[in-house]
Assembly symmetry: C2
Homo-oligomer: 295 residues x 2
């Protein structure tokens, strides 16, 4: 193996320590405790687990979190009403609606109800538009974390060829937009590949940076890489594994062994992108509490 | 020369004829005449010329246009107030604020004031965000026109490699987003090149489609192209030319002669992208009047 393992846990811990200092300073200087509301509808076990992790991370950083749990039978109007109440609640600076929502509730309508100045996930259309235009906004958490993970390798993103595999609204499209921006920690030439790309390897073989967010194990293999590339693996896939206590193990979208033999640096799964997503959520909540991102 | 010249004037004329039929049908079926408000602040000669062309195109399509001309000394608050009044005017379905605005007036504040359901230019952040996410929205006029110009060549965009040169908010970024979308008339693998790209030719040489919107003559030359590529030239540059009545001629960003020798199809300048931009503005105004794009 040639590649350095990019330690997402450590970067997350370092960043969270900085956030905790920022939270403490905000409390001292302005008497403001950042507050994050987490709206959880229904009892999806994965969602409960994510929400618990977010609340724990908030507590460690000194951020107040408030969980609003609603039954799986809650109506769309009730969920929207809850969001609107949180919009006007001065103790709450960030609002997170855990997705997916139960069937019959329009995620679009619920997300659209979040006030832009409290949209710490960066999912509202107005926030996404501001990001693409290059205005001040909450950067979406996973893409922002990905940029931080590339930076920590020491690679200067500017002028590099970055290939993004996958065009989801949560990862692929926004990370492509962030990497292509003019300015520091960006300015890459970006190619967006997806399920409609006949030969992904034709693009990745010239890439200095590959971000793979396709949701499919084995999407990226070592023979598709240019030697020395930086690989960010966003995939989280469950593979049945009887030898594990839970009966499965987690793997990314990249074939780790073959990619690590060619890349200069690669994120592991788990322990790579995942910890940074929650971290950038805390970051946005701190920004929101400091009034750094306007309406 | 090998390339077919993509006749933007003819495509625009055909499309405007369709729009005129749509306008007539809307009048007959619902008694609604589409109305476009054009806000022009100051006396920039180029802006006056653009506005005049838009109003003429409206008249030919049966769309009612209302010009609101404000002095160069108008305040930001006055311009915003004008936009807000148009937002609640039932005779007006589309609002266009001609850019640039005089110094001292924030274009962002004025554009942000436009109601999303009347944002026929597609410039508001919420509309841009919807476009990137893939929700119903007004497609930005020049990028939408570019897609139509590619289609008219008979090339199926799906699965092709499209290289966009230039990352402006008005052309480069949105056309990259449109071409990469999942769905018909899209689904290309898209590379976004810009001033931070060290070797643009390395990307264009594998491209099936090149959209050049860099604002610089000679950005694209024939030796940078793969034989058979489709070239869309968005540039409009004035070159001093004493032999012309106005003392200049217009050229695009592509070196026409050398590109036309290698490409399978290319847009001329003028007569390529330009006529389609106004056409798609009329299209959006018709959609707005028909209530096709919601708030």
């Amino acid at each position: 193996m040639n590649a350095t393992i990019i330690d997402g846990k450590r970067l997350a811990a370092d960043t969270r320590a900085r956030i905790a200092r920022g939270v403490a300073a905000l409390k001292e200087e302005k008497g403001t405790t950042p507050g994050l509301a987490v709206v959880l509808v229904g009892d999806n076990p994965a969602s409960i687990s994510y929400v618990t992790a977010k609340e724990k991370a908030c507590a460690e950083a000194g951020i107040h979190s408030r969980e609003i749990r609603m039954g799986a039978d809650a109506s769309e109007a009730e969920v929207v009403k809850t969001v609107l109440q949180l919009n006007s609640d001065p103790a709450i600076h960030g609002i997170l609606v855990q997705l997916p929502l139960p069937k019959g509730i329009s995620e679009k309508k619920v997300i659209d109800a979040i006030a832009p100045e409290k949209d710490v996930d960066g999912f509202t259309p107005v926030n996404v538009g501001r990001m693409l235009i290059g205005e001040d906004c909450f950067l979406p958490c996973t893409p922002h974390g990905i940029v931080k993970l590339i930076e920590v390798t020491g690679m200067d993103i500017s002028g590099k060829h970055a290939v993004v595999i996958g065009r989801s609204n949560i990862v692929g499209k926004p990370v492509a937009a962030l990497l292509a921006r003019k300015g520091p920690h960006a300015n890459a030439t970006v190619t967006l590949c997806h399920t409609g790309t006949p030969d992904v390897a034709a693009y990745t073989r010239t890439a200095d940076i590959v971000v793979v967010a396709a949701g499919r194990p084995g999407t990226l293999t070592g023979d598709m890489l240019k030697p020395g590339a930086v690989v960010i693996d966003v995939g989280v896939n469950r593979i049945p594994d009887a030898s594990r206590p839970k009966g499965f193990r987690l793997v990314g979208d990249a074939d780790f062994e073959s990619c690590a033999a060619v890349a200069s640096a690669i994120t592991p799964v788990p322990g790579g992108v995942g910890p940074m997503t929650i971290t950038m959520l805390l970051w946005n909540t701190l920004l929101a509490a400091g009034g750094k991102i306007g309406a």
